[in-house]
Amino acid sequence: MKRTVPLLIASATGFILIVAYFVPPIQAWSEQVSVWFNILAAVAFILGGANLLGNHLKHISDRARGWGYSVVLIVSFLATLVAGLGKIGVNPSADFPDFAWSGTYRQIGSPFWFFYEYAFTPLTATIFAILAFFIASAAFRAFRAKNIEAGLLLGTAFIVLLGRTFAGVALTSWIDPAVWSGFQYFTGLRIENLTVYIMAVFNTVGNRAIMIGIALGIVSTSLKILLGLDRSYLGKD
């Protein structure tokens, strides 16, 4: 009951999805299973939020180090949650003015939108933006042309960095058949054209091989799960 049933459920759902590709009449079943999955994904968001709340409440009750920050987290969490679930400050939909809850929870100007616009957006955007600084620091500290391989990596990076800006055009615009007719055979060497070529040919080669490798890995792990050979997701008893 505790282990066998989940194994059977996992195999059944997985194989329904696979078989549906080959047996069109059970297409509807595979849609149904996918819809259940989608609903469970939504429940998982609720589970995640509740878990976060629980962890930080415990942090506070234990007076663990930095518990004050947990208070900040919980206050912002609850404020956003109440504003969103309660549709606070949201007008009813213009089509259904008699239904108080008919408005959209994202209404511009509502408290929930306020949290999105003035807290979520600047925070998430800036957290990703500061990576630009760390990548600059890493460029200074880590990239050394120690051997051919590292040299190839750096050389490609230089060409791409130049070729995807105006610098590439400015540096090699003299390779122009108008300057010398013989240049018509060498326009491919202009940095912006080299970049396009590297991306379309060499980059495609590397990523295609990686893609094939990853695909084989995923197919074999999926099969192991569906056949019940990999049971790690069940955890320990």
Binding site: V43, S76, A125
Partner: protein, 319 residues
Amino acid sequence: MIAGMKRETLIWTIVMVLGAAGLLGRAFFSEQGMGREYVRAVPVANGQWTQYDGATYTDYLRAEQAQPGQTVVQLSLPRTVGLWLAAFFTLAVFSFLWGDNPFYRIAEHVFVGVSAAYWMVVAFWDVIVPNLIGKIWPGVVQAWALPGLAGPEAERNLVYVVPLVLGLMLLWRLMPAGGWIARWPLAVVVGTTAGLRLIGFLQGDFLAQIRNTILPLVVFTGGAFDFWGSVSNTIIVVGVLCCLTYFFFSFEHKGIVGGVAHVGIWMLMITFGAAFGYTVMGRIALLGARLEFLLDNWLWLIDPTGRRVVATMLFGLIG
């Protein structure tokens, strides 16, 4: 050395204080100022409510010019506070570059709290209500949040009791005992993911990539021999084989196999170089957007989208 450090810090502090003082002075003593948000009041549903759309300083000045003392476009105090809060959060995250500090910590925790709650709210209103409750109790949802629900989509479908039960079982994880109960919905999630990915990757990434690599090595375009097309295709076919040799031959890479695998490594290095270049490009773009927010929306130092065009024009006339 320590004396040098102190002098650097001193110079830096002076620069920062002067810069901040200059900006604040500009905000409070210049005519244009900085960091204000305006809204336009729009009546909805025959004037039963007012909706406040975002407006620019330009809109405000135009409206004032047309009719002084109007109330349609007005300064929004809450949104102005919000804008300054957004600027504070932006600077608080940037302060991490100097070193870990309480401002960064506060910003980080606000972010986690707000985003977790945001996802919960979205999951509830966009999925749980229409796709679960609305399927089992359509009447309830119609009378409450989705009065517009109609047609075949508004018919009760009791199959959805299954995901309801599974969802409740998943939430059982929050209980102290009976952890195994959540394994059933988890099995649905794992089984579905495995089934979907098996076919998706096999078809889209494995078979299709092999198919995409079977290319003519001698290319003719419009009846004429295409030299560079042929070279490209040859590099792609040979290159992919070299990389795969490097990945999959588990015996020692020596002799011809070793050479082939080495070419594969070179191909991969070029790939990683390109990936590095693109990553740099992406990160810088994000930083650019953030700095533009600070300089444009908050400090009003630049105005690339013409949010305050009339302002400069008018003050040019007056001044």
